[in-house]
Amino acid sequence: MFFETVWKLITRYGNFFFEGLRNTLLIAIMAVALGTVLGALMALCRMSNIKPLRWLATAYIEFFRGTPLMVQLMFIFYGLPMIGISFPEISFIPDFQRFMAGIVAMSLNSCAYVAEVIRSGIQAVDPGQMEAARSLGFKKGEAMKMVVLPQAIKNILPALGNEFVTVIKESSVVSVIGIADLMFRTNGVKAKTYSTLECLFVAALLYFVTTFVFSKLVSLMERRMSHDRK
């Protein structure tokens, strides 16, 4: 009976769910991509010798990791327009305003986590590597580029993959501002069919399959890297 209903939901509302999943992935990819770029810059600031920069970066990271994503999201979508800051509505892209708010909130949030991933990845490299490079006469930046970063990347990439998996799951909160992601679509089907349990089961299944595939890919990548010369 249960699986019958699940099957019916998949055959009848499959496209509806998959569109939601597509939007979820779209948001997650954009958020992690932007979050990585911003996070790299943030990590640089966090490790900078310039004190105010370091202080600002630390404050940013602590703030975004210490407040709920939901609050950040609502702050950007509902709060900022109150003081006149909002994204424009573009006629040929439906829901552009919502999507932008969602992506920006997720990116700013992800940035804080990625910054910590990058920082700890760099700091996990034996400081002797930097010292040896400096003792040969390399400048700090050159030593970073040639010696430290290539080793740090092996710590960073798998963690970044895990961040992506986390963001896929966390992104379900964007449904509260009306972005048609997987969670939002699930609620839609639920309201239409009254099959609450079955709908949630389908959503969970889709989330799980997606994150499982990605985390397997990540651990595969991780293994490949550690098999490489150390």
Binding site: D126, G128, Q129, E131, A132, A133, R134, S135, L136, G137, F138, K139, E142, M146, V147, P150, Q151, R229, K230
Partner: protein, 245 residues
């Protein structure tokens, strides 16, 4: 002796927080001199050596290399470091590069040496330490003794004027100490200026011409090696030598 003075240390003091590790040290090193630095752990030996190329920044005092005060503001320490080779206790070969790349990276990037010339030079140097078959190996594939020999020739690629050794054999298994000391001995015989922080008393006594006994942040004794080992004066040195010999 003062005519070919290479490195001069004046009133060097280094504090970590409230702890004074080096206390007003003054000494100098001439070209082609091989000097050992011995002493109990915690006595400041490594810190002293690391101050010489500013891996540790002195709290006060001056260090003159080729007559230039390298602690002065505006000095480009990178230029001076190119002429000061350093060998570490933990080898610190670049893990992401093979042996050849470890050796050629600095001369090619910093001295703009042509890739081919650097490769040839690397080849002749690895032959000297008997590791010509390891050029394409990665550090993780080498033994400790092999790593340290490569680390020594990596520093030599820059044609340094002085080589600083920070306990180069302390992290090695006993059977590998000999091969590293042998390379260092050859290097000493070739006329390289060397400052060696070491626990190898035989090396200090037989290879180095002068030995400093560093204890409690000061140079407690500074003499020609044979004299220091045969006629130690300070009670601290006498008791130190009794423990280690």
């Amino acid at each position: 002796m003062t005519g070919n003075e290479l490195l001069r240390v004046e009133h060097l003091t280094k504090k970590f927080g409230g702890l004074t590790v080096l206390d007003d040290i003054s000494t100098s090193f001439s070209a082609h001199e091989v000097v050992s630095v011995i002493g109990p752990s915690g006595g400041g030996k490594s810190t002293f050596l690391r101050c010489l190329n500013l891996l540790e920044v002195p709290t006060s005092g001056r260090i003159l290399f080729d007559g230039d005060d390298i602690c002065a503001k505006g000095t480009d320490i990178n230029v001076h470091r190119q002429k000061m080779g350093m060998v570490f206790q933990q080898f610190n070969l670049f893990n992401n590069m093979n042996v050849l790349k470890n050796m050629t990276a600095a001369p090619v990037k910093i001295l703009r040496m042509p890739e081919e010339a650097a490769k040839e030079k690397a080849l002749s140097l690895v032959r000297r330490v008997g590791l010509e078959d390891k050029l394409n190996a990665y550090p993780s594939q080498l033994s400790g003794g092999q790593k340290q020999r490569i680390a020594i020739v990596r520093a030599l690629m820059m044609d340094p004027e002085v080589m600083l050794f920070d306990e180069p054999t302390s992290a090695l298994d006993p059977e590998m100490i000999g091969e590293v000391l042998e390379v260092m001995k050859q290097l000493a015989e070739s006329g390289m200026t060397m400052i060696v922080v070491t626990h190898e008393m035989r090396f200090a006594r037989e290879v180095s011409s002068r030995t400093l006994f560093l204890d409690g942040g000061v140079i407690a004794e500074d003499k020609p090696s044979h004299e220091l080992f045969d006629h130690p004066e300070s009670p601290r040195l006498i008791s130190f030598l009794q423990k280690v010999l």
